[in-house]
């Protein structure tokens, strides 16, 4: 294990103990990025000068004898829809290149900076977050570090790949319909989609105001928890931020799952999973002592509501540019954006009205269960360019189908940890498993994740440079 691939918590401890300086940790990280990113193509921007300033500030704090913050010296990167002061927020597009540079960091970047983390750059994504594959035509596809011919997933594909490649131990992404959980699944890293409204989205480029979430992808459960705790806090200026106080989870990670009611989701989540994905969920269910099979209410309709809300809000958001600059949009998604902009109002309103009763039904399910288990993706990573997936004999268009198992969950707003597992039948590729809890109970999903990590059921695998 090299310094660049030390797990986040160990790296932070080594810096805190003075065994490694923040600057040394940063230079090792930069060397790793430079050695691997020509193949992986995770980064679209590198902020090394800023990173050296931030790392130098940490080392100066240590030299003055000050107590270091919890993530002091930990390198990280962000999906390129997060504002970085002085840089243009691309959101995967070329249309945005003409925008003014951001006047300030996104709120979550500000909070990670306050916690001592060191920002090294911005990461590739599907244009405007509308996709599950990060086959970005403008900036090139982000390749899966475990097999460069395969997709990294999306839309936070750069974030998943950067962690999987050992470039950074922590990356931020966004998740509207699965965009943290899908790349976490395909790249074999940990991901956390918090409760809708938990983390401030201010200073991130929006996709779907009604469903957008932000969260971390990381090399360990501790890294998820430490970064998540550092990013928590109310934000009255984000109308979608509903958290009124911080609810720390890091201290609860080792509380085990004894006494928790844990179930495996059947129905929709079984029917739309291939045998390796089912095996992955079953192995997690066994390790956590799941006691039964649960049925998620109206999963297909929940996915439909998410699909309709997404296309309508996304299309409307970009309508001014679609009128005049459609040729500059991503060819893989521009027609979907236009279709969304043209949707009848009845579809959208019905979806929003359904979402409210759907939320209530899902909340009622969690009166019976504490943690529910389901695969994160129906399959392991397809080849880049694959147009179709076969799921149990049914042919699906690959790009929307990657969200079959994540969309019903985020439409209800529940927190989810994606755990990296390595089932047989995938040619050595990972498939993530969702650990789903009731809204505002990230602690329960993370406790279950910690058990999986401690027992070796879920873990990262190293890649050769």
């Amino acid at each position: 294990m090299t310094m660049a691939t030390l797990p986040l918590a160990q790296l932070a401890a080594a810096i805190a103990a003075g065994e490694i300086s923040a600057r040394e940790a940063l230079e090792a990280c930069i060397a790793r990025i430079e050695a691997t990113d020509r193949d992986v193509n995770a980064f679209t921007g590198k902020s090394y000068a800023r990173a050296r300033d931030e790392a130098g500030a940490i080392d100066a704090m240590r030299a003055r004898g000050e107590t270091l913050p919890v993530l002091a010296g930990v390198p990280y990167a962000v999906k390129n829809l997060f504002d970085i002061e002085g840089e243009v927020t691309l959101a995967g597009s070329i249309v945005n290149r003409g925008n003014a540079p951001a006047a300030a960091d996104a709120v979550l970047v500000q909070r990670l900076k306050a916690a001592g983390a060191v920002l090294v750059g911005s990461l590739n994504m599907d244009e405007y977050a509308y996709g599950f594959t990060t086959e970005n035509t403008h900036y090139g596809p982000t390749r899966n570090p475990h097999d460069l011919k395969r997709m990294s997933g999306g839309s936070s594909g750069g974030s998943g790949a950067a962690v999987a490649a050992g470039q950074v131990p922590l990356a931020l992404g966004s998740d509207t319909n699965g965009s943290i959980r899908v790349p976490a699944s395909l790249c074999g890293v940990w991901g956390l989609k918090p409760t809708f409204g938990r983390l401030s989205r201010r200073g991130s480029y929006p996709f779907v105001h009604s469903i957008d979430h932000l969260g971390p992808l990381a090399d360990s459960v501790e890294a998820l928890a430490l970064s998540y705790d550092a990013m928590q806090g109310p934000d009255a200026l984000d109308p979608g931020c509903h958290a009124l106080r911080v609810q720390p989870v890091t201290g609860q990670l080792t509380a085990d799952v004894r006494g928790l009611r844990i179930g495996l989701l059947g129905g929709w989540f079984d029917n739309n999973a291939t045998p390796p994905a089912r095996a992955a969920a079953a192995s997690v269910a066994k390790a956590l002592g799941a006691t039964g099979v649960a049925l998620w209410p109206d999963a297909e309709q929940g996915r439909a509501a998410a699909f309709i809300i997404t296309s309508c809000e996304g299309g409307s958001l970009h309508l001014p540019d679609l009128r005049t600059r459609a040729a500059e949009f991503e060819p893989l998604s521009v027609d979907r954006f236009i279709a969304g902009a043209l949707q009848p109002a009845d579809w959208y309103l019905k979806a929003q009205r359904f979402r409210r009763i759907y939320r209530d039904r899902v909340n009622a399910l969690f009166e019976q269960w504490d943690v529910l288990i389901a695969p994160a993706t129906p399959v392991s990573a397809p080849l880049i360019g694959d147009e179709w997936l076969d799921i149990n004999g049914t042919r699906h268009p690959s790009r929307p189908a990657m969200g079959l198992l994540t969309q019903p969950v985020s439409c209800a707003g529940c927190p989810v940890v994606a755990a990296p597992t390595w089932p047989e039948g995938t040619g050595g590729m990972p498939i993530g498993v969702q650990l789903i809890a009731a809204s505002w109970r990230e602690d329960l999903a993370l406790r279950a994740a910690h058990v999986l990590q401690a027992t070796g059921v879920a873990h990262l695998k190293g890649v050769t440079p």
Binding site: H209, S210, A236, P239, G240, D298, E300, Q301, R303, A304, A305, F307, I308, S311, L319, L322, R323, A326, D335, R336, I338, A339, G340, A341, L342, Q343, P344, D346, W347, L349, K350, A351, Q352, R353, F354, R355, R356, I357, R359, P400
Partner: protein, 70 residues
């Protein structure tokens, strides 16, 4: 809705929104809209009643805390 109905709708709606669309693009967009129409039909089966309001985000102002009533 037939395939031709959807293409006609796409052309009419695009014109209403002042969104230029050539024939090839209209066909491609119609393919996507047909997929969304199938999703919308799934929601037709949901037993919504007039009192089922949309999921909430809008608030006119933060609700005053208890001290504000005194």
């Amino acid at each position: 809705m037939t395939e031709q109905n959807i293409v006609d709708y796409v052309r009419a709606a695009a014109a209403a929104l002042d969104l230029p669309l050539d024939d090839a693009a209209a066909q491609r967009v119609a393919t996507h809209l047909a997929r969304t129409a199938a999703m919308a039909r799934l929601l037709d089966a949901a037993a919504l009643v007039p009192g089922d309001e949309p999921a909430e985000v809008f608030r006119p102002a933060p609700f005053p805390d208890a001290g504000a009533d005194e």
